[in-house]
Structures are given as C-alpha cells and as structure tokens.
C-alpha cells in the first residue's frame, strides 16, 4: 500500500515539473514576463534603492565635513 502512495506522489511530482517547465518555455508567457519586468512598477524598487543610497551619502557629506 505504502509503495502505491509513494508511486502516486512521484508521478504527480513529475507531472507538476513537466507542466511548470512547459509553462516556463511558453514563448507568450516568457515574453509577458519580460515585458512585466520592464514595467514602471517592477523598476520602482531599483530606482528607490539608488535614490535612498544617494540621500544617505548626501547626509553623510553634510554631517561628515
């Protein structure tokens, strides 16, 4: 009985992997991910991170000199 359960779990895992891989290789989904990653919302954290660093260094300059 236990072997049957293990076999079913293995088969399901393999199926899930195949579906995931085929989705990842889907050119439409891949292009959409590419475009989404270039959108303003996706880019905001990168820009904010640099802006925050700039602000920090400005404060250091003011205090440190």
């Amino acid at each position: 009985m236990i072997w049957l359960v293990i076999a079913i779990v293995v088969v399901l895992a393999i199926l899930a992997l195949i579906i995931l891989r085929s989705r990842r290789n889907d050119p439409v989904a891949s292009f959409q991910r590419h475009i989404d990653a270039l959108g303003p919302e996706a880019r905001r954290p990168t820009v904010d991170r640099v802006r925050r660093l700039d602000d920090d260094s400005d404060e250091t300059d003011d205090d440190g000199r």
Binding site: H34, D36, T46, V50, R52, L53
Partner: protein, 334 residues
C-alpha cells in the same frame, strides 16, 4: 552566498550595482602598474590622480579606449580587483551582468566574460549600454512606443531606438568625451604652442566647453609647457575657440543621432516628436549639446535625471529580474 552584481564597465568610469543594495562602487576606470614588475599599485580614483604625474617606472592607464579593450590582461586584472573590492572571493560566486558598448567585437565579448568568470563570477553575461541606459533612465520601454536614448560615454556615443523591451535600431560611433578632451589638447598645442595634459583638457571642457553658444560664457586661463622654450606658460582660451576645436567630434556625434533617426520605422518616428529623445552619459553633460542635437534634428532632447548612473541602474534592474530579463543578454537573441 554572494549577492549578484551589475557592472558598467565604461571607458571613463566603472560603476558596480549589488543586488538588493544598489550602487556600491563608482570610480574612474584607471589602473596604475609598476612597469618593471607588472604589479598593480592602485586602481580607481587613486590611480586616476596619478595620470600624467608618475615617475618612469609607474604607468597609469585606462584599459578601455574608444569603447574597445586596449589591453585584455590589464582589463582582466581590473575586473578581478573590482570584484574583490565588492566582496567576491573564491567561495562566493555571484552572477554578473556587464554593460559594454554595442560595437564591441566578438573577441572582446569573450575576453570580458572570461575575465569575469576567472575573477570569480559563477556566470557572466553582457548587455548593450544603450539598452541598460533606457531601463535606468526610466523610459517606458515596456510599451509599444518609440523610445530614443543617446548615451555619450568617454569613448563611444550610442543612439538606440527601443520599443517593447527590444532594440529597434542602433547607431554607435567610437567617439566620446575623451575625444573632446583630445581635440582641446591638440588645439592648444597647435594654436598656442603649449602642451597640456589630458586632465587639464578635461578641466577646460568642464569650465568653458560647449557644443552651442550659451548664456554664461567666460574665458579660461590655461597653464601648460611652452613647446618652444620648455618653460611653464599661461594662455587665455575663449569658449568660441573651444567650440571650434571640438566641432568635428560634436558633428560626428550629431550625425550618428541623425543616422539612427533615419533608420527608425516611421510608426515609431512620430513618437519621438512628442516624447523626445533622452540624453545620458557623462558626455551628455557638455553645455549646449542637448540644444545642438535638438536644433539639428528638430526633435526635443531631454536630459535624464540620472545621466551618470543610468546604465548601471538599468543593468542593476536586469540583475534584480535575472530570469525574466535574461533574453536581453548579448548573444541570447542571436
């Protein structure tokens, strides 16, 4: 586990972006070596201060000239030192994205990626500078509209039309702000008979250089070595004569922008009239350059908010979304 890195390997400056942290290094692309032993004596700002002021046994060099690698071995050593300085070691192997001029040859591509891998990168990929600049300048390149970016660096000037996350047309010339400095150096030597160093030429460019007449124009006092007597000498330079001296370089940059515009599909061309073109890179800061390009192309020119950091910022964004954007790497599309 090391954080992944994006590197803007520019002719003038090198910037490094660390995933999750932002820009962690911004220094001149200069390395100082002991000519006899080949040992590295300094890199970055420290090496830049040595240019033209070293004793015979020390040489301070820029391993990249005109957007091309002039010395592969020195470039590799510089990349290795850069990675070491931001914490990459034999045990921490990050993924690295390096921005390079689009005109780079296949041999140079291999040299840069191999150098990064040998220096400790687990994987090294390249991205074209204008593409990274467009991402970093926050242009809406995810939309089906024409975005035009002009990246004027130290050794190259690149203009690209980008739409829907890809390059539509591209034009690059191996001319940049170092050529402007060299033109000023040659002019002072020819017309005034004095020799000046490249750092002095750069200071003249920053002080009174312009591509088009501007409101506030002052003369500059220039000190150098008299070519006839060998003694120190001072001369006065006017903005008009600097403009005359750099005219060939400026014309060449403007001509490449015009060529890129003429290669763009008509549907995208009409977008430029509304949205304008974006100027990035240190060379874009030359006074009057935006006005000059605007006058000759009749297309509005806007300056990016982050002209010096746009390229590394764009590459940094790619490293943050590595899986989704890896189709942008050079070679991935061909």
């Amino acid at each position: 586990m090391a954080r992944d890195l994006a590197i803007d390997l520019g002719t003038a400056n090198t910037l490094v972006y660390m995933k999750g942290r932002g820009i962690v290094l911004n220094e001149p692309s200069v390395i100082a070596l002991n000519r006899q032993t080949g040992e590295v004596l300094a890199t970055g700002r420290e090496a830049w201060q040595m240019i033209g002021r070293t004793p015979g046994y020390i040489v301070a060099v820029r391993p990249l000239r005109g957007g091309a690698i002039t010395d592969f071995e020195i470039t590799e050593r510089m990349i290795r030192l850069l990675l070491q300085r931001v914490g990459v070691s034999r045990f921490t192997r990050p993924k690295v994205v390096i921005c390079v001029p689009s005109a780079i040859t296949e041999v140079e591509r291999r040299a840069v990626t191999d150098a990064a891998r040998r220096a400790g990168a687990a994987d090294a990929n390249l991205i074209e500078q204008p593409m990274a600049a467009a991402i970093g300048a926050d242009l809406p390149i995810d939309e089906p509209v024409g975005n035009m970016v002009i990246d004027i660096g130290g050794g190259t000037s690149e203009t690209a039309v980008i739409s829907l996350g890809g390059i539509v047309s591209l034009e690059a010339v191996r001319v940049g702000s170092f050529d402007i400095d060299a033109a000023i150096q040659n002019h002072v030597r020819r017309e005034h008979g004095i020799a000046i160093g490249e750092r002095t030429a750069e200071e003249i460019k920053v002080a009174i250089g312009s591509a088009d007449p501007t409101h506030d124009e002052n003369q500059a006092e220039v000190r150098g070595r008299d070519l006839m007597t060998g003694l120190p000498k001072t001369v006065l330079l006017t903005p008009e004569e600097v403009r005359f001296a750099i005219e060939d370089v400026i014309s060449s940059i403007v001509a490449s922008v015009v060529r890129c515009l003429s290669k763009a599909p008509p549907e995208l061309s009409q977008d430029f009239l509304v949205r304008g073109m974006y100027l990035v890179g240190g060379g874009g800061l030359l006074r009057g350059l935006a006005e000059r390009i605007e006058r000759e192309t009749e297309v509005p020119v806007r300056m990016s908010n982050v002209p010096l950091e746009a390229v590394v910022l764009g590459a940094g964004h790619v490293i943050e979304h590595y899986e989704a954007l890896k189709s942008m790497f050079m070679g991935a599309r061909s």
